[in-house]
Symmetry: C2
Subunit: 151 residues, 2 copies
DNA sequence: ATAGAACGGTTACATCCGCAACGAATTTCA
DNA sequence: TGAAATTCGTTGCGGATGTAACCGTTCTAT
């Protein structure tokens, strides 16, 4: 009566698979050149983007667990790509920013990212890109409030 | 000169985020009702779809690491949802299939999956779905051969 | 026929990750 | 004011995961 479920046509599965393949493909680049892990790359890119930001805000912005953020911050600091400053107004808060070296690396990694992305985009074409982006936003809107276990 | 990279507009990041949110949202359903983990669900669904399949083939089909598959197979077997038969022609190979109970559970989980998916699809609309699927296929085609570290 | 390579699958080990508990700082509210 | 609740960030711990090594089996090539 019920037809067989085909996993490769099941949307959550397709999404997970596409994301995993693309993510791994790109991660291979920065891992090979800089030895960065995925959480480190994400945290680093977020700090680079905002200039100054807190660990909590990074987690909220990038859907990463706070312990993951904490550990990535630690190793980026050890690498001297970022530094932290305790906020004067609220001394629980650590304001994170790039060091001078971190700034240089961020430029390099940014252009690497853009190069990679433009190859991806040209592979799927401009209108498909628009549709893709739009559909992903709709998916996130739909699923975002049901799940709330992460921050 | 180079504009700042915005992570939330970066395609691999968007994909990863959308996939993670959707996947977690759906995983909450089968975890809560059956206590299944994500790898277990994937392996189980793959066996259910193919009827009989080997662990290696599951890994290739679903982009999962073979140790992950191996462990999921073990726990599904312990649960008595699947069984294994050593292939007569090649005794390295274990042919995996659902047990009677596994078949029942697969029906339940399949319909759960379809219900969930149809909610997702109606949230983003039918043409957006087509575009999404098409774009993901193109992405996978592009990235699939570069990365080969898993199987 | 047989040595060596290749393959299916499992396991030991080190690492990664999330949960829960925590310390320190701040806010809330009586 | 001061006790309880909340927040930021870290850490201990158990569980999940990937790497590499491994066992047994089969294939390849001489």
């Amino acid at each position: 009566m019920t037809s067989t479920l085909k996993l490769e046509e099941f949307l959550p599965y397709r999404l997970a698979r596409a994301a995993e393949i693309v993510s791994r493909d790109f991660a291979a680049l920065y891992r090979e050149r800089y030895g960065l892990t995925r959480p480190e790359w994400r945290v680093f890119a977020t700090i680079g983007q905002f200039g100054t930001i807190t660990a909590t805000a990074i987690g909220a912005h990038s859907s990463m667990h706070k312990t993951k953020v904490s550990r990535a911050v630690f190793s980026l600091e050890k690498r001297r790509w970022i530094s932290r400053t305790t906020d004067d107004a609220d001394r629980r808060v650590e304001r994170l920013q790039l060091t001078r070296e971190g700034g240089l690396r961020f430029q390099e990694l940014s252009s690497m990212a853009r190069t990679y992305e433009s190859k991806l985009l040209s592979a799927i074409g401009p209108e498909a890109t628009d549709h893709l982006v739009e559909a992903m936003a709709a998916l996130e809107r739909y699923a975002a409030d049901s799940s709330s276990s992460e921050r």
